[in-house]
């Protein structure tokens, strides 16, 4: 059973208060500190996750907007088709799965692409997988905002054109 921090704290505080009452004036703060430290440690479960058993309950999370929207959209006056169909016409598609990225998943894997940095040899005869410094002079200018602003004139701020679809 997971003990709450409060349940663990009370007996320890009681012990500390008793020790203080018996004349050990230095014992009280030490016991309180130890108790607090123990709580801090014990509050983390063995699996490393935070023990929130004694925490404040989570605030109410509003229902997903989609669900609310669907509920609001359901027509109250839905009627069945005239051809003898009697099933509730407003019923949602219970058979339809939630939209997922299943299309992409179902399709064949594309050709593998080179995504990892290419190994380079820097001349010392050893394979070097770290990013070598760029030797290009282009970088000096193309990382210098002030220079580029000065070099390149302003363009008309028109909305970009669109394609066909």
């Amino acid at each position: 059973m997971i003990r709450t921090p409060l349940a663990r704290t009370l007996p320890l505080l009681a012990l500390a208060a008793l020790a203080w009452a018996c004349g050990g004036t230095d014992a009280a703060p030490d016991a309180a500190v130890e108790a607090t430290a123990e709580i801090a440690v014990d509050a983390v479960d063995a699996d490393g996750s935070r023990d929130t058993a004694g925490a404040e309950p989570a605030p109410d999370v509003p229902a997903e907007a989609d669900d609310a929207e669907v509920a609001d959209d359901v027509p109250a006056n839905a009627e069945p088709l005239p051809d003898g169909v009697s099933t509730d016409p407003g019923a949602p598609d219970v058979d339809a799965p939630e939209p997922q990225d299943t299309v992409a998943e179902a399709l064949p894997e594309p050709e593998p692409e080179v995504a990892e940095p290419l190994e380079t040899v820097d001349g010392d005869g050893e394979t070097d997988t770290e990013a070598p410094p760029l030797v290009s002079a282009c970088v000096d200018c193309h990382t210098d905002k002030a220079l580029l602003v000065a070099l390149l004139p302003e363009e008309p701020t028109e909305e970009a054109d669109h394609g066909g679809g």
């Binding site: 006056n77 009627e79 088709l81 219970v94 990225d101 992409a104 399709l107 760029l134 363009e155």
Partner: protein, 396 residues
């Protein structure tokens, strides 16, 4: 989409990094000039350094990505994104030829000069805003595996698709339900579809691996409407919102954007329901959108009238990206019959919903030059007699 200043388009923002190579492995292994050309030795001469500059190394002329990504580039340059094969086919068929290559030079040159500017290069989707959209880094010079929906997908597909998919609170247009649920373009249109060769597909609907609703939504045995109409109406017939961005919503000779009366009478231009032009799809009735193409559309290219203009409809198959569960066709007024939103008449009632369909008279009145082209898709005679044909369909 807000434009980007010229300097911002080429600025590599290092942030807390000290070297571009720390931003992206490409920049760690390739010097700038290896892809972009220019003269890297011209250290103090801006103009000389940019002689021979290759603005977009991933363009087909240089195809710089091929060196490491041979497989994907091999198929990509045959994809619909790269070839605009659907557009090529439409031009050729209407001109009376089997392919664009056989078309007169004026059409070929016009296509190459105007249409192909929208070719999507690798960089258009993985590095910068598309060339056709003014360019500009998305995230410094980082190569993004997944394109940015806002600045790359919708940079080209924002006029209609994005307009519908994202919706507009100001205009009272709810977004597509898939967007509401957090799905992006890539949720349905994945990397396989984007990179694969289009084969002999004549339009984008016939490219392999094109997403279909039923890939995620199986036929429902509990929904009587689905059971009734699964094989005769496309999903979009019922689940597309009426507020739909048609080409004609903007491309109407400027009238739409200047004439408030016209706007009021033609809200979003919408779509019309007509006969399915694709025999390989099971539906009988589908939404159709009007593409403002006329016989002399390519006259500005120096081309003559399209000899076979009637070979393809100008009211085209469409799959509006404004899907909702509840639309004017799936909701009916209180105490009204369930078919009252779609059928032409209800028991004891008069003709209604005529404006939902594409009638021959409607096309003849609004676009007489396109009457022959749309004869195969007008709904006349295709609806069950029990639905009651309207006596006088509305005019545009």
């Amino acid at each position: 989409m807000p434009p980007v200043e010229a300097w911002e388009k080429v600025l590599i923002k290092l942030g807390n990094k000290t070297n571009p190579g720390e931003l992206d492995p490409h920049l760690a292994t390739l010097a700038c000039e290896e892809c972009h050309g220019g003269d890297a030795t011209a250290l103090d001469d801006h103009e000389a350094a940019h002689v021979g500059l290759i603005d977009d190394p991933s363009a087909p002329e240089t195809n710089a990505c091929k060196g490491c990504h041979a497989a994907v580039t091999a198929t990509y340059w045959q994809s619909m994104h790269a070839t605009l094969q659907g557009e090529q086919n439409a031009i050729a068929v209407r001109a009376g030829f089997a392919s664009l290559a056989e078309c007169p030079k004026a059409l070929r040159d016009g296509f190459k000069g105007e249409c192909t500017k929208c070719h999507a290069t690798c960089g258009d989707c993985h590095v910068s805003r598309p060339n056709a959209n003014g360019k500009g880094f998305i995230k410094s010079h980082v190569f993004n595996e997944k394109p940015s929906q806002a600045y790359q997908c919708l940079a080209c597909h924002g006029a209609r698709i994005g307009y519908d998919y994202l919706g507009s609170e100001d205009e009272g247009r709810p977004p597509d339900v898939h967007f509401s649920k957090g799905m992006s373009c890539l949720s349905c249109h994945g990397e396989v579809q984007a990179h694969q060769a289009a084969g002999d597909a004549v339009d984008r609907y016939h490219v392999p691996n094109t997403p279909r609703c039923e890939h995620c939504h199986a036929v429902s045995t509990a929904n009587p409407w689905h059971q009734q109409h699964w094989n005769d109406l496309s999903c979009h017939v019922c689940h597309s919102q009426s507020a739909y961005q048609n080409c004609s919503g903007c491309h109407t000779g400027g009238v739409y954007t200047t004439d408030e009366v016209y706007q009021a009478e033609n809200p979003f231009q919408a779509f019309r329901l007509g006969k399915n032009p694709f025999p390989d799809r099971r539906f009988e009735v589908v939404p159709l959108r009007h593409a403002p193409t006329v016989p002399d559309t390519y006259a500005p290219w120096g081309a003559g009238p399209l000899a076979a203009f009637d070979a393809l409809p100008t009211w085209k198959y469409t799959t509006p990206h404004n899907v909702r569960r509840w639309t004017p066709r799936t909701q009916v007024p209180t105490s009204a019959h369930c078919a009252s939103a779609c059928h032409l008449g209800e028991p004891g009632g008069g003709p209604q919903n005529a404006d939902l369909y594409l009638w021959r008279d409607y096309v003849d009145a609004g676009w007489p030059v396109e009457s022959g082209a749309n004869e195969s898709v007008v709904i006349d005679g295709a609806l069950p007699a029990s639905w009651q044909a309207p006596s006088s369909p509305s005019n545009p």
